[in-house]
Structures are given as C-alpha cells and as structure tokens.
C-alpha cells in the first residue's frame, strides 16, 4: 500500500500513434513508468524517440493527427482518489480541471509559449481565475508572490510588462510562475532549457530544483541532454523510437547501464568529455609556423549600432583547429562570417597566407581575388536542412563548386563519388534528394561540398549543434580525419564547450563581441583566467550524477551591463 501512496502518476502500456501517408507511425509504443511524489523523473532520448509525445499524451495535448490508442495514465490525487487521464475526453471538463491545476507544463520555446499581447501578470493570473475564480486584487497579490518565487527582479513593475520586454531566461521564469500558479502536484517540463544559453540553463535548472523541494512537486523532465539528466534526475527513463530502453535510478543508469542503447548514449556523451583520441596521439603543431590566417583588430558594427565584433584579433596556424566559443549574441557567428566576407567588417585586417607564401588581406580583397580565396577558405553551416537546396540531388549539390571551378563530365562524376565515399556516404545515393537523409548524413553532404575544391581552411559554424549527441562525435571524428588527410585548418565555432574540448587545439572565448580569453584548449578548460570563462565552464552540466556541479557554479556579473537569466 505504501508503494501506491508514493506513486502519483502511473503510466501503463501507453500507445500513441500518428496516421501518415504510408501507414501508422507509433510515436509512443507501450511506454510504462511511475512518477513518485516529490521526485524528478527524467525522460531522455534523442530526437524522434517519442519523449515529447509521451509528455503531451499525459495531458492529452498531442498534436493532430496523433491519438492515444491504448494504455492507461492513472493520476492519484492527494485524497487517494484515482483518475485515468487516457480515458477522459480531450476537450472535456474533467481533463481541463487537471491541466494547469494538478499537472502543469512548461515548454521548450519561451518565445512562442507566452502570448505577446497580454501583460505577464494577466497570463500568470489566468489559471487562478479559471480554476479557482480568484478575485482580481487577491490574484495580483498571488502573482506578485509567484514572481518573487521565480526570482524575477522588481516583481511590482515586472507584473505589468509584456513578454517581449524579457530575455529568454526571464520568459522561462514567467512560464514556471504560470505553471506554479495553482500549486500543481506534477510539473511536466518539456526541454525547458534547450533554447537557452548554458549559463541561463544552469539558473533555470537550479530554480526548478529549489521550487520542487519547497513545493513538494513531482517533476517529469524531458530532455535530450545527458548532462542535464545527471544534474537533476532522481530516476531516469531512456527512450528510443517510442520504446523504453531502460528505467532506473540516475546512479544505476549512469554507472551500471544494462541496455546497449543506454551504454551507447552515455558512451557518446562521455567521449565528448575529453579530448579526442585521434588528437591526443597527434604530434604537436609547430607554434612558430607562419600563421595561415591572422586577424588583427577586426570590428563590425551593424547599421543598428550593435557592435557585433569588437576589436577581435586571432591567428590560425596551419593544420590546427581553433575553437571559438561563446553564448548566443556573443558575435561568434558574425565573426566567422566576416572571415569569409559574407559580412564586411569595417575595420582591421584579415591576413590570409596563400600556399605560395603571399599574404592577402581578405578584408580589402576585390571580387576576383575573393572568388579565388573562397575556394581555399570554405564554410560548413549549422543548419543541415537550410544549407542544402531541397530541390537538388546530392550529386548536384556536391558537384556545384566543382562545376563552377570548371570541372565537367566523367571527371566530375568520379570526383563526386570519391567525395561521397570520403565523407562516409554511399556513392549509390547520388540521385537522392536531401530530404531522404538524416541530419548527420546531411551534415556529411555539407562537409563534402566544403572539401570538394580542396580548401586549406574551413570555417565550421556550429557544425554539430543541430545533431543528436550520438552523431555529434561521428561528425567531429570525420572532420578530424579529413583534417589529417588533407592538411586542413579549422575555425570551429560552437557554444558547446565539450565539442570544443574534444576537437580543438586552441580556443578563443567570445563575450559580447569581444575576445575575452584565448589559449591552448587544455589551459583554457582547466585553468581559465577570465571570470566569464570560469562561469561558462562551471555552468556546463556534468554527465555524472555523483559529481553534481551546477549548484556550486561560479556566476559572472558583467562589469557594466545588467545580467540576463
């Protein structure tokens, strides 16, 4: 009996499926789990594992054409009464009284989950009005109290503001306040920190944890990030293609995983916790070799007045990988695009040394020069969907730069086949269109396009951030293999410190358009000198539940401007 008292939500053999053109797609296929009172259950899985659909099924808010085909979702109330949520009418009175009041949910996108036309006070108070009919004055008091709980500064003025006046992290706090309004017993958090920067993520995770303890809530936390799981979970449910692969306490799952998929998943996370083996074995790069690229005092101010790149100087040596790390808005992507003159920096020099030893300033290069230089300096894009034209076959995409370089006929076909093999794609797939490929494969196509004209330097802009963690290390390994084969240098832009640590020889940290720290990767990661770097490093979730670090993290307060988060 004590067992069932403990369990607040019991999901048994849940089946949710979507009708598609070719048949029925079982997004959730026989999922069972129990959520204990006051505990955190993390549902973890890669994209397409059905973790979000599971969460949405509980509240019966699965997007059309998805339907719950079978199974039960039993909610046990505090008075001992039970209700099977799967049996309720999705538009009925009963499920509506559960939503928000007994089970609250927060979503991934704080941008789109709040209404832009209502003041945040009204939005938070709405649940109170609907479920309890709280009178207006009392409602305002309660909302102020909630805003204080989620640590929004100056709640008295914040309550009358609109969503757009808040940063992403603040919006997520508003969402949490909204979820807490009716004192729910269960909080479902569907990737609540995925859209946030790592330092903001740490703040939000911290907040959820503290609120859970003070309110005695159960939390069902959906995430793809094993680091986050290790930081906050009591129990873990590993999902893969709609099925539960493993279920256990966080310590069991991380330190004694039974299932092969779990092992693989944790393995790929742990792999990214240290430098790649292929890099450890490699000989040191000559420090005194003439730099391939030397950027001096580069600055770019947008017409809006935003100083996106502010006096940045860096060097790239032949054969090395320079990592650029920073949070969103730090100007790292803009900086990368300046190097290829997609944007025109107003000041500074971008000195590129060609194979024959001549040095050209790319910032002032004219069009024909630029055309030639862009064959030697190439780019890999972040978005594996948007960077490949959906209307061209793989062969056409890879062949495009070669064609423009004047290659034709049989030679071209053979080179395309060779490139596809080089990046691990079957040459037989050449007639396929990008939509037939997974994210990792698409990124390989993008890499093939980048290396097709035998470049010497590649700017990789968040090349792996759109990929699942298990694919990430594969793509990175491929990039390093190509580096060794072709003698490439990389400028690797990423917000993800683990990816930088895995692959880069040196790293530069950017913060608000400025380079705050640069040095050997080992030194920056282990002995950071700048406070911002320290804060960034300490906010990264560590994939070991025995060593939870986020609570003791280092906070960086910028000298002048206010802090978001």
């Amino acid at each position: 009996m004590s067992m069932s008292n403990d369990t607040i939500l019991k999901v048994d053999d849940l089946q949710t499926s979507f009708k598609t053109r070719t048949g029925t797609f079982k997004a959730v296929d026989g999922v069972s789990f129990e959520l204990k009172r006051g505990k955190t259950l993390c549902v973890v899985g890669e994209s397409g594992s059905g973790k979000s659909v599971t969460a949405r099924s509980i509240l019966q808010i699965v997007d059309k054409p998805g339907t719950i085909e079978g199974g039960s979702i039993v909610l046990t109330r505090q008075d001992g009464s039970q209700v099977d949520l799967a049996r309720l009418n999705p538009r009925g009175e009963e499920i509506r009284s559960v939503r928000g009041r007994e089970i609250a949910m927060i979503f991934q996108e704080p941008m789109s989950s709040l209404s832009p036309v209502h003041r945040i006070g009204e939005q938070i108070g709405e649940a109170l009005r609907i479920h309890f009919g709280t009178p207006k004055a009392e409602r305002r008091e309660r909302v102020l109290d909630l805003l204080r709980q989620v640590e929004i500064p100056r709640p008295e003025t914040a309550i009358d503001r609109y969503t757009f006046e808040f940063s992403g992290g603040m919006r997520q706090r508003v969402m949490i306040a909204m979820a807490l309004a009716c004192n729910p017993q269960i909080l479902i958090a569907d990737e609540p920190t995925t859209a946030l920067d790592v330092t903001t993520q740490a703040e939000i995770l911290d907040l959820i944890k503290r609120l859970q303890q003070s309110h005695g809530m159960s939390v069902l936390f959906i995430t793809h990030d094993m680091g986050v799981v290790a930081e906050i979970a009591d129990e873990v449910l590993v999902m893969y293609r709609g099925r539960v692969m493993e279920h256990g306490t966080v310590d069991e799952v991380f330190h004694a995983p039974k299932d092969d998929y779990t092992k693989r998943l944790i393995g790929s996370v742990v792999r990214l916790e240290r430098k790649a083996e292929i890099r450890l074995k490699r000989a040191e790069i000559e420090a005194d070799a003439a730099p391939l690229l030397e950027v001096r005092n580069m600055s770019l101010t947008f017409p809006s007045g935003l100083k996106a790149v502010d006096d940045v100087s860096l060097t790239v040596r032949p054969g090395e990988t320079l990592g650029i790390v920073g949070e969103s808005g730090s100007g790292k992507t803009t900086m990368g695009r300046c190097l290829l003159r997609i944007y025109d920096p107003q000041m500074g020099e971008i000195n590129y040394r060609r194979a024959d030893g001549t040095v050209i300033d790319m910032r002032t290069a004219d069009k024909p020069q630029l055309k030639e230089l862009r064959r030697e300096v190439r780019m890999i894009f972040q978005d594996p969907v948007g960077s490949l034209s959906p209307r061209k076959t793989v062969a056409q995409i890879i062949a495009e730069p070669l064609k423009l370089a004047g290659m034709r006929g049989k030679e071209l076909d053979e080179r395309v086949a060779e490139l596809m093999q080089q990046v691990g794609l079957e040459p037989a797939w050449r007639e396929r269109y990008p939509h037939a490929f997974s994210g990792g494969q698409r990124q390989r196509i993008g890499i093939a396009r980048a290396i097709s004209v035998k470049p010497r330097l590649i700017i990789a802009d968040e090349a792996t951030s759109a990929l699942d963690v298990s694919l990430r290390s594969q793509v990175l390994d491929l990039m390093m293999k190509l580096q060794d084969e072709m003698g490439l240098s990389y400028v690797f832009i990423s917000h993800d410190m683990s990816v930088i640590r895995y692959m880069c020889d040196r790293v530069a940290v950017m913060y608000r358009g400025k380079l705050v720290e640069a040095g050997e990767t080992d030194q920056v990661v282990n002995r950071p000198t700048h406070d911002y770097t320290k804060a960034l490093l300490s906010a990264i979730p560590h994939p070991d539940p025995r060593d939870r670090r986020i609570q003791n993290r280092f906070r960086y307060v910028a000298p002048s401007a206010s802090v978001n988060g």
């Binding site: 092992k263 944790i266 393995g267 730069p401 490929f437 594969q474």
Partner: protein, 382 residues
Amino acid sequence: MTNITQLPPATETDIDLRDQTIAVAGQWRLFWLKFKKHRIALVSLVVICCMYLIAAFADFIAPLDPNATNARFTYAPPQGLSLLHEGSFMPHVDQLKMTLNTESMRREFQADPAKPLAVGFFVPAKPYAMLGFIPMQTKLFGLVNARPGDSLYVMGADRLGRDIFSRVVHGARISLSIGLVGVLMSLVLGVTIGGISGFFGGWVDLGIQRVIELLRSIPTIPLWMGLAAAIPVGWPPLRTYFVITLIVSLLGWTNLAREVRGKFLSLRGEDFVTAARLDGMSEIGIIFHHLVPSFMSHIIATVTLAIPTMILAETALSFLGVGLQPPIISWGVLLQEAQNIRAVAQAPWLLFTPAAAIVIAVLSLNFLGDGLRDAADPYESV
C-alpha cells in the same frame, strides 16, 4: 565514470532511409503527392480541365449556332431531357407548343408529351470548322432527324430565340481565355518587376513598392471603365478583346510582383544561397539555379488564384457594358442581356445559366489554387 564500457558509436545506417521512391523524388513529384491529398482541389482540377476542353471544342459541343435566331422561340423555356419513352429507352425532349396569350401579350410554351423529339449523339449538322480549321459535319449531340419547327433548347432561349446553352459554351472561350491571357501578361510583368525589386533592393525596391501601393489604391472598376471607354467603337472585336485583357491585367500583376519579391527576400537569406555564393556562383546563376526553382511552385499557385479575378473582372466590365460588346459572346455579355427585371421574372434561365458557369469556374479555380498553394512547399513535412 570508470565502469562504463566504451561501445562503438551507433552507425548512421541505424536510421531508416525513407522509402526509396520518396528518396529520389524531385520537387514536382513531392508537389503532386501533397496536392493529391487535397481532395477538393483534385476534383476542381478535373472540373477546370473539362471546362477548358469544352471551351476548346465549343463548336462541336454546342448543338446550335450561338448566333442563330429563331423568332418562333423567343424566351422558350429549357426543355427537360427524358431518357424513356413509353417504356423503351429513347432520349428525347418534348416538342414545344407555342400559344399567344392575348391578355398579357406573351408567348406561352407548353411541352407536348405526345410528340417526342429524339435526341442522339454525333448527329449530322451543317458543315463547320472545328477549332477554326478541322472541317466537320457532326455535332456531339442534337436532334435526330430535325424538321423545321422542332427545337432543342437545353437551357432555354433568349429574346431572339438563340440557344442559351450554346451561347454559354461559346462564351466560355472568351471568358476562360481572357483569364489565361491576362494572367500571362501579369506573370511577365509581375515576375520581372518583382524580381528587380527583390534583387536590387534599396531605392529601386522602395520606388517599385510605392508604385505598387499607388496602383492598388486606385478603385479598380472606375479605372477599368475609364480605360475601356477610351476604346474606339469602330475597332474589330478581336482587337477590343486584347485591349480589354491588357486593361484587366494592368492591376493584376501587383500581387504577383509582391509575392515574387517576398520570396526573393526570404530565399536570399537561406544558407544554401549563401553557400552557392561562397562557391563562386554569379548573382545571375544564383537566381536561375536556386531562386527561380524554389519559387516556381509558389508562382504557379498564385497565378491560378489570379485567373478567377481576371474572369470576374472581364465579367464585371462586360456586364456594365463597357467591356466586350455583342456580337462577341462572353459570360459577361450574356449576363448583360439578363440585366432587366423582365428577363429575370419571365426567363430566369437567362441569368442563371451564365451565372452558374461563372460560379463553377471561379470556385473551381479558387479551390485548385488553394490546393496548389498548400502543395507549393512540399518540404515542410514530407
């Protein structure tokens, strides 16, 4: 973390490749797959195809000469077609008996079931030239062994005893083609001007957009009327027809130009366009290799939605008497003839038959356009 075994990483072959046909399906194939799901649009496509076929083969399908008058049968009502006669299969209409009501001074028609007139397919007719050049002596359907005094008015007759059905069928030629020709003109104007606007940006874009706004703010009917009134009365019908098309397409291109410009702007920011630029592709190359294929399907959808507007514009002009003039037959001209209360009260078929044709054509084109628009970007969810 020492007890974790390092497994070989998951290979990407774990991930299903979508089924083979989809994998190699190009843009138009995906377009069709998505369009097929839109049932009403599919039905509309069939309807539209039928209507254009009817328009093309109007000479063959219309049982009577649309301009042939018959004083005996002024305002004759539609003759109902029956399939059976005295228990045996024989498609026929009943002969009309005309009596003159001396009180109201109106002709009254009475169907006479005792005198069936057999109706058959592929009946001989006076020689004519189908599509203007194929000599024919057969019509799709008509009276078998017609004698003087027999009549076949499927949809009734007008004040001169002309067959409304034949006139509507012939009117489809002008009314449906004016949509196509007008849209073609707007297409050329719209794509060129919109393309220039989106491509060059800056003050060129600013200027073109303001001109478009100016044009769109002019009330259309008075403008058309003014322009149409300027057409000399003595011009041959064909020239009038082309000038009218020009007039209706004069404003139609603005929508298209905006659509093209918008697509240009949104596509220019796409990574694959940036990639092409970094590959060293020229701006012209980017336009024709990447931008045009990407918005082609959108243009087709917009164009389809523009055709009904053109048809309605022609109808409106002709109805007001400033568009096409008799003896040209268009749906608007037919409606103009039903413009008085007497016609509506006494011979409602004068109004309803061309109106029905217009409604069906416009609705079908709208549904078709909707379906095409939904399918225009088949990559949203494959």
